[in-house]
């Protein structure tokens, strides 16, 4: 079965979605990711959706759900590389994804997480 790979980089889980999401794939990703977070004790999840051109309300909700679940498991979620068309669609659908951090690309996303980790360590 088709799966979206989840890479571990330090205490960050990196998910790059390179195919168009369909419902089953999103469900599988949600299960896999929660599993991996609890296994590895990762503190952050970085989801790269720069290759995703099309979203619907279900996929939007799945992203919000994944973020919420990750938060409960003590991992921050950063969503990076959203395309303009996708952003407009999500806003029109009313899915503003509150509580999900966003960044323009993976590099910025990693910088954001590192900055927060430093702030946490300092605080």
């Amino acid at each position: 079965m088709e799966r979206i790979p989840i890479l571990k980089m330090g205490d960050v889980l990196l998910v790059t979605i390179q195919v168009d999401m369909h419902d089953q794939l999103a469900m599988t990703l949600q299960d896999d990711l929660t599993q991996r977070i609890s296994q590895t004790g990762a503190h952050a999840v970085l989801i790269d959706i720069s290759a995703v051109e099309i979203v619907d309300s279900f996929i939007g909700r799945m992203i919000a759900n994944i973020a919420a679940m990750a938060r409960i498991l003590d991992a921050k979620t950063v969503l990076v590389g959203m395309q303009p068309a996708v952003a407009i669609t999500l806003v029109e659908l009313g899915l503003t994804l509150p509580g999900v951090r966003t960044a323009l690309n993976v590099e910025r996303g990693m910088a954001l997480l590192r900055g927060e980790a430093d702030a946490d360590a300092a605080g």
Partner: protein, 289 residues
């Protein structure tokens, strides 16, 4: 109404074509609408002659007074061309429609001469021809109107594109000076161009300056919030600047919640916040000795 098959119109047109054309030209030139500055007499004569020929064809093939049929297709196309070109040249609608309507008198006159001995037939023919020409005249006006509407739509589109520039203020800082009333169509364009520029430039912060927006109502505020949310989803932050006191009051009275948005009074304030976000600051140069 007489059965269409017995229509004498094609016959009349055939026999007295030259005469009708002459009279028609005179009518058109006599009318106030003879816009010689916009169109030469020769051109007009050519158009008139061509149209008369097409009309002759259509009436000889055609049945009845319906101009939407296939036999009228060529004549209709020609009329469309004439209307469009006249609309573009700056003729008024009546000046365009007179092209067809001024044909009435010459044709009726020719008919009277042909059918003068048979008043009943003459009345029928005049009525049918009148119907026909009225429809053609209305058709010209319709096409004329459409031509003008196309011009307006194109201008609107151009204005839309002109009025929404996204400027780069600094590395990682975009500015969006909005001028004029915001509506859904415009906001859509603004949103798309802003998000596109964010992707292209990799900007962290975008400043939306609404100094030039005369009024803000709930709809405009909602559009702004949507744009800001979409930018946030892409990982860029938005700052609204240039909110005038009246607009601030209106926003509060309307109960619009802008608490999740950074708002600043002036573009300068917003710019300094934006610079701070990207890790820069403006400092005075050391005084010269």
């Amino acid at each position: 109404m007489s059965p269409a098959t017995s229509s004498r119109l094609p016959q009349v047109l055939e026999r007295r074509e030259a005469e009708i054309l002459d009279r028609w030209m005179k009518e058109q030139l006599a009318a106030v609408s003879a816009r010689r500055d916009l169109m030469s007499e020769g051109q007009l004569r050519e158009q008139s002659k061509e149209f008369l020929g097409l009309m002759k064809q259509a009436t000889s093939k055609g049945t009845g007074t319906n101009v939407t049929g296939p036999e009228w297709r060529v004549a209709r196309e020609m009329l469309s061309d004439i209307s469009r070109s006249r609309a573009a040249k700056g003729f008024t609608p009546s000046e365009t429609a007179i092209f067809v309507f001024s044909l009435k008198q010459p044709v009726f006159e020719a008919m009277r001469q042909e059918l003068g001995s048979d008043p009943a037939a003459l009345a029928d023919e005049v009525w049918n021809t009148s119907l026909l020409l009225d429809q053609l005249g209305l058709y010209t006006t319709e096409v004329f109107q459409k031509g003008r509407e196309e011009v307006i739509a194109r201008q609107q589109q151009e204005m839309l594109e002109l009025s929404t520039p996204v400027v780069k203020l600094w590395d990682g800082v975009l500015g969006l000076p909005m001028i004029g009333t915001l509506d859904s169509a415009r906001t859509q364009v603004v949103m798309e161009s802003l998000l596109q520029r964010i992707v292209e430039t990799g900007a962290d912060v975008a400043i939306i300056d609404i100094t030039g927006v005369p009024t803000v109502d709930t709809l405009v505020a909602q559009h702004l919030i949507k744009t800001i949310t979409a930018a946030r989803l892409m990982g860029a932050e938005c700052i609204i600047s240039g909110i005038r006191p009246q607009i601030a009051a209106t926003i509060v009275h309307l109960g619009v919640d802008l608490s999740m948005v950074i708002t600043k009074a002036t573009l300068a304030d917003a710019f300094s916040v934006a610079l701070a976000r990207v890790g820069l600051s403006v400092q005075p140069t050391p005084a010269r000795k």
